[in-house]
């Protein structure tokens, strides 16, 4: 039935109505009425709501008829047994039709030692994108430290800003802040109708001093409004900020609570990606490497389309881990890749048309040998909080469980394997660079050539060849160009994107670099 429906996956009729399996006919009727009030096409005009409404009716038709319900219960018994083996996530109390979870194994063995376990979330937005683009309030925070002079960084920055201006709408408002070790408000948020004044301000940029980000964020914070549309702050920098990281992160946390999203773009080879990752990750944003205008264009366009047609202001994932469970790594893999702080709530930013949030978590489960066989063991519980542009947030609870028991299992689902493999590559690259920086050249070389082997195993021969070459260069002159480091990191990071997005960006860049 609902198997083929994209957003619903393995959700059954009880889950659709949000009632327990033993619900009385009265409870089912009440839940149906409630669902109709929420999902009827006359009330909720989004196409997704319509699809879901049809399922609600279908569910009610079956569950309200004692005979049909009995037959359905029997069928459900059987499929739940087979699904258990198939790696479909047992999402308990899944009143959330927007959340689909795939796990590495839904049956885990009761081992005396800790074990790794993976979950991949696919989360859809509860609301359709707007028909008209939303008015953005956008801030560009521009690094004007003297180092911007080199390697054509300033001219690349200007080209990218011009590209941003090209894709903003007259109803958007844009503010400009420039910073070195001080910050200067160049332009308050101004309607983008008059593009010339922005270009003028940009051309008047004088390079001086060092990089200190927190001042600039404070200036933005002082005049940041809460508009009818998304509030977005983009940081462009080529340097490392020293001493004011804590302040910057504190501002980012406040922004996350207000639904302000912050993205960062690094220029050149000496910017601090770990810090910017953290900063942007806290707000639901992402960090990108500005390699060239051709590489930046599809990223700028994707972001602006997402913000113009944003379906929510922000998604916050609140969660609580069960005792003994750890999360080793938490990555957002769509719509943009970001390394997330494992701290509830996690801000996930927004999605545009045709986009969903994708998240991979690597768990460490504690020793489970004391657990009685065939227990449903809760790994984490929480709720999704979708913050709209107006009105109160919409929350949906979720729970993630595993079945503890003995016995053979099926292979992990493909989507989980794919995601974990990309994560493994990303980590290999990180480990390789770290080994090199610590002077363990041979190990670095080994790790990078493992990465190259993995890439070529999956048919990414061009990238595999590049990585292999880097590994060989390491051996020869014992140094790794910092620019190559950035290219390695963001090259493998991009692989974590959904395959269609990755391909689209890669092709766009290749086409434009040629011309």
């Amino acid at each position: 039935m609902a198997r083929s429906e994209v957003p619903l996956g393995s959700v059954n009729y009880y889950e659709i109505l949000g009632v327990p399996r033993h619900a009385t006919p009265e409870e089912i009727r009440a839940a149906y009425r409630e669902a109709v009030r929420r999902w009827h096409p006359d009330i909720n005009p989004s196409p997704e709501a319509h699809e879901f409404f049809l399922l609600v009716r279908q569910a009610y038709e079956v569950l309200s008829n004692p005979k049909k319900r009995q037959a359905y219960d029997q069928a459900l018994e059987q499929t739940s047994e087979t699904q258990e083996m198939g790696g479909t996530a047992p999402v308990g109390a899944a009143r959330s039709p927007r959340l689909r979870v795939r796990v590495s194994h839904s049956l885990v063995h009761p081992l005396a030692e800790p074990q790794l376990w993976y979950a991949f979330w696919i989360i859809g937005a509860p609301w359709a994108p707007p028909r008209q683009p939303r008015p953005l309030e956008m801030w560009l925070v521009l690094d004007r430290s003297s180092s911007m002079r080199h390697q054509g960084k300033l001219s690349l920055l200007k080209e990218v800003v011009a590209e941003v201006l090209r894709h903003l709408r007259p109803t958007d408002r844009l503010g400009l802040v420039a910073f070195d070790d001080r910050a200067e408000l160049l332009l308050r948020p101004t309607p983008v109708r008059k593009r010339a004044i922005f270009l003028h301000a940009l051309n008047a940029l004088r390079l001086q001093g060092a990089t200190e980000i927190a001042h600039a964020l404070r200036v933005v914070d002082g005049s940041l409004g809460r508009g009818r549309g998304p509030s977005v702050v983009w940081i462009f920098t080529d340097g490392r900020t020293y001493g004011d990281e804590a302040t910057a992160l504190r501002i980012a946390r406040q922004w996350a609570r207000r639904g302000v999203i912050c993205d960062a773009f690094g220029l050149g080879d000496d910017w601090n990606e770990a810090f910017l990752d953290r900063l942007t990750g806290l707000t639901g944003g992402a960090t990108h490497y500005l390699e060239s205008l051709a590489a930046a264009k599809p990223v700028v366009q994707d972001h602006l389309r997402r913000y113009h047609y944003a379906r929510v202001r922000q998604l916050n994932v609140h969660f609580q881990l069960s005792r003994g469970v750890k999360i080793h790594a938490l990555y957002r893999m769509g719509p943009e890749v970001a390394h997330l702080d494992v701290q509830s709530p996690v801000a996930m930013g927004t999605v545009g048309p045709n986009e969903r949030w994708l998240t991979l978590a690597e768990f460490e489960l504690p020793p489970l040998h004391g657990v009685a066989p065939d227990t449903r063991w809760t790994v984490l519980e929480g709720h999704l909080e979708f913050v709209p542009f107006r009105g109160t947030p919409h929350t949906e609870p979720f729970r993630l469980e595993v079945l503890v028991g003995e016995g053979p299992r099926n292979a992990p689902p493909k989507v989980v394997r794919h995601a974990v493999e990309r994560l493994t590559w990303y980590r290999l690259q990180m480990a390789g660079r770290e080994a090199w920086r610590d002077g363990r050249v041979e190990e670095a070389q080994q790790l990078l050539s493992y990465l190259a082997q993995g890439l070529s195993r999956r048919g990414m021969t061009r990238m595999a060849r590049e990585v292999q070459l880097k590994a060989m260069e390491l051996d020869r002159d014992q140094r790794l160009d910092p620019e190559i480091e950035k290219a390695l990191e963001f090259g493998t990071r991009m692989l974590m994107l959904p395959a269609n997005v990755y391909e689209a960006r890669r092709k766009y860049t290749a086409r434009n670099e040629r011309s």
Binding site: H109, E113, N354, P408, R417, T424, W425, Y450, Q453
Partner: protein, 171 residues
């Protein structure tokens, strides 16, 4: 669990070796898959893909039926000197389609239509699509790209042999 490739001692439950990227899950799946009495669950051991995918057909207003070649995605549009869509709507009599008007593609076992921000729009059964918002197509749906309207004919889902028996108007 010891990695058979680099002999790194990886934690239980790991899918890939963190040291060398070796797909450890394949080993586990082989052992446990045999215990399940099944073929190995690796992709190579699986059946070939359904061929029904290859047959998306469109019925034109004049009753003619054309089949789309390959397994997609297909760009619907208007050919220019340096761009050739998979389905050239102009050659079918349309005059107001955009260069890259819409895209048809298979996803999750269904056929989806995505309007590529076309000037004159894409309609399904009389409702205009949002740009870039995929819309699942069902057999018999009427699709309109600007001034060209076609009916989508899909293979009946499922593996039952009757699906082929229903084929009557293969062009």
């Amino acid at each position: 669990m010891e990695c058979p490739y680099c002999h790194y001692h990886e934690m239980a439950g790991a899918l890939f070796c963190r040291r060398c990227g070796y797909p450890l899950w394949e080993e586990v799946a082989r052992v446990e898959g045999e215990a399940l009495g099944r073929e190995t669950a690796t992709r190579a051991a699986r059946e070939p893909r359904r061929t029904a995918r290859d047959r998306v057909r469109l019925r034109l207003p004049d009753g003619h039926v054309i089949a789309l070649e390959g397994s997609g995605p297909w760009i619907v549009g208007r050919a220019t000197t340096n761009f050739e869509p998979d389905l050239d709507a102009q050659s079918l009599g349309a005059r107001h389609v955009s260069r890259k008007h819409a895209r048809l593609e298979w996803r999750h076992g269904g056929l989806y239509l995505i309007d590529l921000d076309s000037t004159n729009g894409t309609w399904v059964n009389g409702k205009r699509l949002y740009p870039h918002e995929p819309k699942r197509l069902r057999d018999g749906d009427w699709v309109r790209w600007a001034d060209l309207e076609v009916q989508v004919l899909l293979p009946t889902p499922g593996r039952e042999p009757e699906a082929t028996a229903q084929e009557d108007s293969v062009s």
